[in-house]
Symmetry: C2
Subunit: 374 residues, 2 copies
Amino acid sequence: MAAPIQFSLSATDGMARTGQIVTAHGAIATPVFMPVGTRAAVKAMAPDELWAMGLRIVLANAYHLLVRPGPELIHELGGVGRFMGFPGAVLTDSGGFQAMSLAKLNSIDESGIRFRSHLDGAAITLTAESAVSLQETLGSDIMMSLDECTPYPATHERARASLELTARWAERGLRARVSTTQALFGIVQGGIYADLRKTSAAQITALEFDGYAAGGLSVGEPKPAMYEMAALVAATLPADRPRYLMGVGTPADLVAAIGMGFDMFDCVLPTRNARNGGAFTSTGARSIKKALYARDDRPLDPGCGCRPCRTLSRAYLRHLFLSGEILAARALTEHNLHFYARLMQGAQAAIASRTFNAYANSIKAGFAAGETGG
Amino acid sequence: MAAPIQFSLSATDGMARTGQIVTAHGAIATPVFMPVGTRAAVKAMAPDELWAMGLRIVLANAYHLLVRPGPELIHELGGVGRFMGFPGAVLTDSGGFQAMSLAKLNSIDESGIRFRSHLDGAAITLTAESAVSLQETLGSDIMMSLDECTPYPATHERARASLELTARWAERGLRARVSTTQALFGIVQGGIYADLRKTSAAQITALEFDGYAAGGLSVGEPKPAMYEMAALVAATLPADRPRYLMGVGTPADLVAAIGMGFDMFDCVLPTRNARNGGAFTSTGARSIKKALYARDDRPLDPGCGCRPCRTLSRAYLRHLFLSGEILAARALTEHNLHFYARLMQGAQAAIASRTFNAYANSIKAGFAAGETGG
């Protein structure tokens, strides 16, 4: 039986690697950044715009789709990708993180997570098994095991109990999987304890997942700890499966993690920052709110070829943002996602030409320079 | 000296006419619907999307641009069209209507309107002269005279005083105009009194405006009164200048008004209704909120070729709307504006082929049918 996805590498440079993941909904060049489409929509974007900027995979949240519009409706309408009009692949998370953070009256035990919908208070239980069948019903191309995202801070004892639970859930989820066309990834936990990260990685990689993820990072821990844990996990994951660093991060974080050998990323940063007036550019981060831009006729990033940069000035974007116009959120989101997509394309090319180190340093330098208005 | 705009007719059918207005920023086929871009942005739309659907003129509000970002800034950045990244023409209203309805502590006398900005309370006076120079600074292609929009209901005496003031302002504004490239339109008032509408039309058309508008309609009066007044005004306006019916209306209103001989329209209906979940389709109005559409995989309007109808289902749009996703507002706005643009193209073609009556009846029948889910 063929695996649900095929992963192949075309080049490596140090620990960094480039290649592709072939899914039931097309091929994805790696390293890849997946925009977050919480409710089966990347906020402010249309699906054909995502496709047009070269994005071939988006993330959706199983928890949100469970509470509205419900997995059966999405299944009936052809699965989450077809439902949202996106011709590429979709990765869904298990819903566990949102069930713990967003839902009301949640409790967690061996069987799973019990919670009440934040919309209507309906009682819902997400087990290791039902989290997988939920995602199978949603029809995503890559599914994630139910895990407990260990909070920060957590004691060593708490973090150990958490990763052990995650490992038991991982095994149960894998056994429960029925689909032969949807990949399932396991998630390594362990907080910021190196020994626990190693234990968790050994447990999870002993299970035949189609890919492996590092979870529980970028949850409030100091950045050096995040980098140390991420590097440690990447080094212990098998080379022949995709490695996914969940919930990370800034452009500098991304090139650092690519340098550790991660292949897949997701983060709300480019989309959420956009709605707050923040833009990522080749010369650093900008806040379009600043008076500095009031009469600035230049595009957000003169080196950028995205649609907003071809048509709208900083002065106009600032006016739109201050006026609360939807177009401000749209334009900044489109620009930021284009920036992240280009960042990944640049990394792929740099790895192929064995110049990734220089590329990573140039990205880090751009964001170290700070905001100058230039 | 050449007139700021050239207006020519290519065909008539009964009172209905089709032709074009050539402005400093391109030609506009008439009859034309101008989407409302209050703050130099048509809510939820990007300027290149408006252009792509064939729209060649948009409306912006002088009052809103006066209070933010200010006319000097817009002038410095090349005028309102260039500022908003729209390559076509822009019509600005005088700001008088908004100064009376939105601003605080407003008062009106012979000289003009005194008010405080709804944003920061700054004291501002708009006179017959400054309303024109404000619009000249904004750089719109078609400017509107300062008028008093007679409220409904108003006594005959009040309506007469109001139209007399409007006539004196019209004359002062015309004298104050400096620009040779920006057209200036006069506005007929008179409430719902036929004798006063005739008086006002005689006064305003005695002045050498580049076009003439019927104002003070669709402000709460019964629809038969609106139709009667609009027809009366259209019949008394000169045939060789564009006729603009301000603030109207529904698809049925528009074909009725085209049948009276009007050439230009603006209304918030397609854009505002969209943000409230309302769609105009060839078989009538729909509210995407309805449970009826929860599992409906069809596009909003199977007969429509707009981008949302090519890519998104009713079920998905309903999910987006209920989830408060920006894409719901975007998709419905784009669809509705596309519907209005097609409505005008259909009217132009029907007038050219002398079949306008049948066309108008088919539009009215579509909206009389009500919502069936079909």
